[in-house]
Each structure stands twice: as structure tokens, then as C-alpha cells.
Amino acid sequence: MTWVRKHLVLILGLLVLVYTFIPIFVVVLMSFNDPASRLIYRFDGFTLHNWANPCEDPSMCEALGRSIQIGLLSTLGATILGTLAAFALVRHSFRGRSVANLVIFLPMAAPEIVLGSSLLALFVGAGFAGQLGFWTILIAHIMFCLSFVVVTVRSRLAGMTDTLEQAAADLYATPAQTFWRVTFPLVFPGILGAALLSFSLSFDDFIITNLNAGNTTTFPMYVWGVAQRGVPMQVNVVGTVMFLVSVVIVVGGELNSRRRAKALS
């Protein structure tokens, strides 16, 4: 009993953690489901069919491919623009800094529906209502990922004193050498984290995308559509794979840093 009391907070915390995994468990389980009917969403029997035929509904794989493509492109765009801006904000002084900060902060404070509807208002107002699709989605995704990249890279940069760069200059490194040999390698983990975040934000976005997609379908939009008329179990295969990939990435990173920490002792 005293043991429970002593560890009460930890036990409660672990329970919350377990709670966050309940839907994941369902997703994995349902990926092996052999549904009796498309319209009833419940576990009826075990099968490997969904894993063997992931693209049974070709439109799902098409939407998935498009989401990955948009995710990669918007990650690339947002990471480059955001990293440059983060460097400017941390390392350079200029006028209008507070305005720049506000413009970067606000997209994160606005509900997605507001961001999406204002973009749509612009596209419609500018006469692009008929051209909504891949490119408008990409524009929107770079826009809302950008702020998150700036914030992530900025916090990494801000935590870094410029002493190391001074040390490099003191040791005969030119400004360019200092950047590529010292600054960039040290900021890189932050940039990588920002890129991963961007990708997952872009890949997962529904509300903004749905308003600006026209007839183009991304994976979340596909899921939304089938949610009304019967979900193919392959959706859960995709969910499971996404979960596994992210676990491999984050746990891999964690093990890597742990191994490094172990070498210290």
C-alpha cells in the first residue's frame, strides 16, 4: 500500500500514457480485421489480407502518395524558409523585429478553420476558385508549417551561445568555415526535428486542406470521405505503418542519445 502511495503519481502518469495508446492498439488490431460488412466498423476475424493488399482501393494509395508528396515538398519549403528566418531572428538585429515575431506567431494561435477559410477567401477573391488543388494545398501547408519550423529552430539556436563560433574564429576559421564546421552541425538536430514536425503536420492536416483542395484528395480527406460510407481496413494498415515508422524514428533517436550517454559513464 505504501508502495502504491509512494509511486502514485508515476502510476497515474503511466495510466494516462496507456490511455494514449488505446486507439493505437485498435488501429493495429483493425489492420488485421476481416470485416463482415464494410458498413459495420468492428473486429470480426483475423486476416492478413489487408496487409497483403494495401492498395485494394487504388484511390486510397493515390491519396496516400499525394499526401507524402505534399508532405515532402512542404517540409522542404517550410524548413528552408523557417531556418533562414530563425537565424535572422536569433543572430541578427533589425527593425520591425516585433512585427516579424507577431507574423510568425499568429498562424500558430489561429484556429485551423480560420487559416483555411482566409486562404480560401483569398483564392476565391483572386479568381482562383477553379484552380484549387495540389498547388494551393502546398502553399497552405508551407504557410502553416513555417511558424513551427521557426519556433523549433529558434529555440535550438537560442540555446546555443555564440562562444563556440568565437572559438572557431579564434582558431583561424573564416566566417564560412565557422558556419559549416561549427554552427550548422550544432543546429542540425533542431532543423531535423523541425522537418519531422513539418512533415507530420502536413501529412496529417485535414481542416485547412479540405477547404483549399478543390477536387484533389489527400489521405486524411480520403479517410474523411470513407468514414461516411464504410472504411476499408487498409486505412488501419497505413495508420499502423505510420505509427511504426514514427516509433522507429523517435525511439531510434532516443537509443542513439542513450548510447552516447552510456559512453560518458
Binding site: 563556440l164 579564434d170 576559421a173 550544432l186
Partner: protein, 399 residues
């Protein structure tokens, strides 16, 4: 070297520490001329003149905010002077970029590159300058700083003392004309600091380069450096060999910042060629003329606590000076090798007395009547216009 010491030894309050300065164009050491750095209206360094002879171990000593770090950073090229000039071996380097000058720095918290191993940290400067034989040179340097077995470890895997040696090796390997050390031992614990002091001194002797060491720790400066410059409020208060600074301070700041001093108010009665006589609360004390640095008719008579002798009322003390009667012991701290007394004098001031526990006389207790005395050649006389507490350790700061 001798020039500097002479400059410091010359007396009189008006002369700056570097009055007999070398010609920067021909001087083979580091010369700072009228160097000034201000941030807005705050002057971190003001009109600083300084010669640092080639091959010397030079310490810039002062409390935090005195401008010593700014001076160092200007020499390193990390800070641009507001005005003035820096020359090294006759070459003007005032505005040279840090990577263009033969000066290297051991940074305060070492600033080791966390993503590079020890070997690559040390090799960094060589690689930037495309030197040959990097491998061999780095091995030799790692041997010098006794880290040859740690070459492939990352900085975070080393102890504080080892990191400090990496920082030293990383700077020294470039054969800088001047090596700058910015509070290099500040992050180490006391015991390690002592051994690193000896270690750095050994390395300096071995490589024979000019070392400029910035520190706020007077003991560290005195142990390591052959010349110490005491800085305060952006200017050099006094410069010289450690023993000389300690024995013959020329300002209340130096008297208090280096060790401790009793400063007693007095009126100057007579200035002879070799002796200045001062009336100190009714008692005449004499001070050798070279040790008198007070221009007016009043001054602070200074005496180090360990130079003050304490005895029973009427006891003959082994000092040919005057005996000052009427002291009452107000505090006693027994510290083993010595006993530290506070003695309240008739004029109300408490004087510090450090008495070696030689067994010559008993331990005094609080309330005992005592007499004090000192040899005139240990006393010094300072400008009455200066603050008697300048540079004194405050209660909450370190010792």
C-alpha cells in the same frame, strides 16, 4: 620586463602604470595604446596603455566588470576597440579579424566543440590553416597536455580538468604569439584549480610563449604570473611583480583587493628625504618615502594584518617602531597555524591582527588589554582621497 617593473615601482599618484612605454613599432611584445571600449555611455576600458613583454606570464587581475575580459577580447579580436591601437611584434592588429591574428584564446567555459572529438578539437586550427603533419603535431600536443589516451572521446566524456587541458592544447597547438586565458580555472574545484595552476605554469615555461591570464582570483594571479596588472573601472591601478604589489600597494583598491590591509587615518607631519612622519591619532609613525603615495597633508597609514605584532600591556615587542597602546581584543578566530584577532583601538577603529602561533605568547581572549606595534618598513601610506574600503571583500562575496 624590467621596464614594466620600473614603471610600476616609480611613485607618485599621477603617473600611470605604463609611463615608460616602449615604441610599439619596434617592440617585440604586445602593446596596447590608449585602448578604449565603451558600450553606449558605459566605459568598459578607458585609455589603457600596456606593454606585455614577449614570453612573460602576465595576469590581468580585477573584480567582475573591471574591464579585464573586454581587454582580453579586444586582443583576441572578438571585440572591436572604440579607439586606440593594439600592436603585436610591431604589427598593428587593432582591427584584424580574430582568424587573422596570431593570438589564441582559452575560453572561460572552454568552448570545446561538442560535435568533434578531442583530436579534432585540437586539430581544428591546424586544419583551417591547411597545415601539414596534422596527425603528428596533434599527437605531440596531446602528450604535452597528457591526454594522448583520450584522443577519440567527445568533450562531454571528459572531466572538467581534462576539458580544460583540451582547451589549452587546442589553443597552444597553433603556436600563438600570445595565448589568452579567460578565467581558465573558474569552473574547476579548488583542489583541481591548484594543480592546474602549476600545470599551466609548467606548460608556459616549456613553450616559452606569452600568456595573458585574466582572473578575479588574486591568489591565482599571484601564484602563476610573473607580472600582475590590477584593473579597476577600466583602468590599470597598479602593475608589477606579485610580491611587490602586495608589499607596496599604491592605492587603497590594490591594498584591499590583494590580501587585506588595515588603513588608519593620519595627518602628515613631516616629509624628509627618506622618511615620512605621520600623526596617527596622536601617535607618530614613520613610513619609508618610497612607500608613501599620499600627495596631500593627510593619508591612510596601511599595514598588513600579518605584519602587526600583538603583545601584553608593557611588553617589549620585537619592533623598533612605536607601540600603540590601549587596544582591546574584540574578536578571536583560532585557525591553527595562526590566530586572527580584531583589536578595538582607542579611536574606535578595529584593526586586524594575524598572529603566528609560535608559542611566544599566550592566546589572547576577548576583552584582554593589548598593545600593537609594527616595523616601519612594512607600513605604507595611501592617498586620503581614496575610499578606504575600495576593493575590499564584501561580506557576501568570495575570499
Amino acid at each position: 620586463m624590467s621596464q614594466v617593473v620600473e614603471a610600476a615601482a616609480s611613485e607618485g599618484p599621477s603617473d600611470g602604470p605604463g609611463e615608460q612605454l616602449a615604441d610599439p613599432a619596434t617592440y617585440d611584445g604586445l602593446a596596447l595604446r590608449a585602448l578604449t571600449k565603451h558600450f553606449g555611455s558605459f566605459y568598459a576600458v578607458r585609455d589603457l596603455d600596456l606593454d606585455v613583454p614577449r614570453g612573460s606570464f602576465f595576469a590581468l587581475l580585477g573584480p567582475s566588470g573591471c574591464g579585464k575580459t573586454t581587454t582580453l577580447r579586444m586582443v583576441a579580436g572578438l571585440e572591436t576597440p572604440s579607439s586606440g591601437a593594439i600592436t603585436l611584434s610591431g604589427k598593428d592588429i587593432t582591427y584584424a579579424k580574430p582568424y587573422q591574428r596570431p593570438v589564441n584564446t582559452v575560453f572561460q567555459n572552454y568552448a570545446l566543440f561538442p560535435h568533434l572529438d578531442i583530436f579534432e578539437n585540437v586539430a581544428f586550427g591546424l586544419r583551417r590553416r591547411k597545415q601539414k603533419d596534422v596527425d603528428k603535431t596533434v599527437r605531440e600536443m596531446l602528450e604535452l597536455v597528457e591526454l594522448d589516451t583520450q584522443a577519440r572521446k567527445k568533450p562531454a566524456q571528459l572531466s572538467g580538468g581534462q576539458q580544460q587541458r583540451v582547451a589549452l592544447g587546442r589553443a597552444l597547438i597553433n603556436n600563438p604569439e600570445v595565448l589568452l586565458l579567460d578565467e581558465p580555472l573558474g569552473a574547476l574545484d579548488l583542489k583541481l584549480r591548484r594543480s592546474m595552476q602549476i600545470e599551466i605554469k609548467r606548460i608556459q615555461t616549456e613553450v616559452g610563449r606569452t600568456f595573458i591570464h585574466v582572473t578575479h582570483d588574486q591568489e591565482e594571479a599571484m601564484t602563476m604570473a610573473d607580472t600582475v596588472a590590477v584593473m579597476n573601472h577600466g583602468v590599470i591601478e597598479q602593475m608589477g611583480a606579485p610580491a611587490e604589489l602586495y608589499e607596496n600597494p599604491r592605492s587603497t583598491f590594490v591594498a584591499n583587493f590583494l590580501g587585506q590591509s588595515n588603513l588608519i587615518e593620519g595627518n602628515i607631519k613631516n616629509r624628509a628625504a627618506d622618511i615620512v612622519t605621520v600623526d596617527m591619532h596622536g601617535i607618530d609613525v614613520s613610513i619609508p618615502a618610497p612607500r608613501a603615495h599620499a600627495p596631500g597633508d593627510r593619508g591612510w597609514v596601511g599595514i598588513r594584518p600579518e605584519k602587526v605584532l600583538i603583545g601584553e600591556v608593557g611588553e617589549e615587542l620585537d619592533a623598533p617602531g612605536n607601540t600603540i597602546p590601549g587596544g582591546v581584543v574584540s574578536d578571536v578566530s583560532f585557525v591553527g597555524v595562526s590566530t586572527q584577532y580584531l583589536v578595538r583601538m582607542p579611536w574606535g577603529q578595529e584593526l586586524q591582527v594575524f598572529s603566528q602561533n609560535t608559542g611566544r605568547h599566550r592566546l589572547f581572549a576577548v576583552g584582554d588589554q593589548v598593545e600593537l606595534s609594527w616595523r616601519p618598513e612594512y607600513a605604507f601610506l595611501l592617498d586620503a582621497a581614496q575610499d578606504a574600503f575600495a576593493g575590499a571583500q564584501k561580506l557576501d562575496s568570495d575570499g
